[in-house]
Symmetry: C2
Subunit: 328 residues, 2 copies
């Protein structure tokens, strides 16, 4: 008898999708958001659940937990080029939870929504043994601006917004300094890339897009499956977060590139763009002080390779996966 700990989260999701696919009337099962036809627009909708055991380090304040819940849901809208209309949040909380905790949790969730131009319009609270929170974000995107996961072609440039390894860097900083510090902020209070997604969508140059919540390697493997292509990623081209250097490696005993490739939690956008349109796209984003870094190319050969010192090797698929043991 197969249990979820044997098959892991992604196989579990595929299992669910198979059951639902027959009747499903939306674009986008298996995408960051479901997309429902509203005429000239899509209604985008996405949901994410977090629980104490697997998502919430003990140092995380209730304010940060609320922020995180909203941010990770908005990140999925961002990856599709969407503009949020609102969120609903369900809080499963133990009965011994203090009113103060609930206040801070709500304030954090509200602050993130408001910072990104939207609001929490409703929700639910229920009694649970373990803190379990579920957010659902919804928004719209013009049909011709929707950026699906599926659509990339060999020859496209693979690119990411911002910098990679921020969350991993924060995780190790937090392990060392129990109170957390500036470095752990990227892990605990991620910034959804709504502006980035919106600008990319307006340019109509993106052939596939997803957020990097699961880490770069896991995300590339997910894109590969949908698109029947491969990728060649240049290790030297990865835009490492500041502070991810030899000193960091010595101090924490972890390779910065491992964090950038596999850790997850960065909530940047991973996109593919046809080569001839890439430079203009990059320059337009640059005008808005947004960095778009090319990190590799899409290939016909269905392998995901990492190029290091001109040598190619297979990039392992090592992102975090629920129900399975964490690789770090």
């Amino acid at each position: 008898m197969k249990r979820l700990e044997n098959i892991g989260e992604r196989a579990a999701i595929k299992h669910i999708e198979k059951i639902l696919r027959k009747e499903n009337n939306s674009l986008g099962i298996g995408d960051d958001c479901a997309a429902i036809d509203l005429g000239n627009k899509y209604l985008l909708i996405t949901t994410d659940m977090i629980s104490q055991q697997t998502h919430i380090p003990p140092q995380m304040t209730p304010y940060q937990i609320g922020w995180f819940l909203v941010a990770i849901n908005l990140s999925d809208l961002a990856a599709k080029g969407g503009t949020p209309l609102g969120l609903v949040c369900s809080f499963g909380l133990p009965k011994t939870t203090t009113e103060q905790y609930l206040t801070e949790l709500t304030k954090g969730a509200n602050a993130c929504a408001v910072q990104y131009g939207t609001t929490i319009v409703g929700g639910d609270t229920k009694e649970t043994t373990e803190i379990t929170l579920c957010g659902t974000a919804f928004g719209t995107v013009k049909k011709n601006e929707f950026m699906p996961r599926k659509g990339t072609r060999p020859g496209d440039i693979v690119a990411v917004t911002g910098r990679l390894g921020k969350a991993g860097r924060g995780y190790y900083a937090l392990k060392r300094n129990k109170k957390g510090n500036k470095l752990s902020k990227a892990l605990l209070e991620p910034q959804p890339r709504l502006q980035e997604g919106h600008l990319l969508a307006l340019l109509h140059t993106v052939t596939s897009s997803m957020d990097l919540s699961d880490g770069l390697s896991a995300s590339l493997y997910q894109l590969q499956e949908l698109n029947a292509v491969g990728f060649e990623i240049e290790k030297d081209a990865l835009p490492l977060a500041s502070g991810l250097n030899q000193r960091f490696q010595k101090k924490y005993g972890v390779d910065p590139y491992t964090l950038a490739l596999h850790f997850g939690g960065d909530y940047e956008l991973l996109v593919t763009i046809p080569e001839q349109k890439f430079e203009k796209t990059r320059q337009t984003l640059q005008k808005h002080v947004i960095t778009l870094s090319p990190i590799g190319i899409v290939t016909e050969k269905k392998k995901i390779l990492l190029i290091e010192n001109k040598r190619k090797k297979l990039l392992q698929n090592k992102g975090y996966e629920h129900f399975k043991k964490h690789v770090f």
Copy 2:
């Protein structure tokens, strides 16, 4: 330091609403659904979380749990006159959960969605210590067909769809017969009143509407607060579920009217309708084989009274509330 077990679920929700109210851009916080302006329509959105400890009797099959999750969310759309566009469902499951369990859970959720003309368009699975499921349903309603909780006036007729006490009857049947039976089906596989809500909305006669998930007494108290009115409910007019009779009372030692008034879980609709429009509304529903039973009137005096043998007494507010002890 106040804890949720001291204040209860409804005070917790009010606490959250107070924090969110300033920025909230939707109609309907404190209503069954949030309502977002989409031009000539509202986008309705609602979310409900259920957890093993507080919602899931051990006899409930995973198929029924999935059904239940979808049904209770669709019920909130029904109460607003909405037509569903879809649902997203998040499953928080222990890692020892079997694939078979996940299959049945998904099939049950899907079956309920499909039976009511909609589909599950996306979701999430996460590892949790306790089974914790969160559904979000969304749909639309024409603006002039939206049935809010707020709007009733003294003199309106109070009415309910279908029959009351079905879920309570099922609960006691289940307590006695551990395997459950036909009677427990109403508790474990509730039927959202989407057709009822839709027909009522088309008639434009409803001045306030909500679903009866929390039970009649708790629902009346919630309506009272929003509308600054009172209610006089005729005990003899309550449409008891079949089998809720003296024999039932003798067998299970519980008063059928207590179940009809306080138990909750019936997922019928509670509406108010101006007196002069009531009979036509009732007759129109009757043509669709839907029973709408008048059970009392809305009063200016802000009390909720139960009339029994022409004597009025205060109706207690005894519905189930999370974080607090169950009254049954």
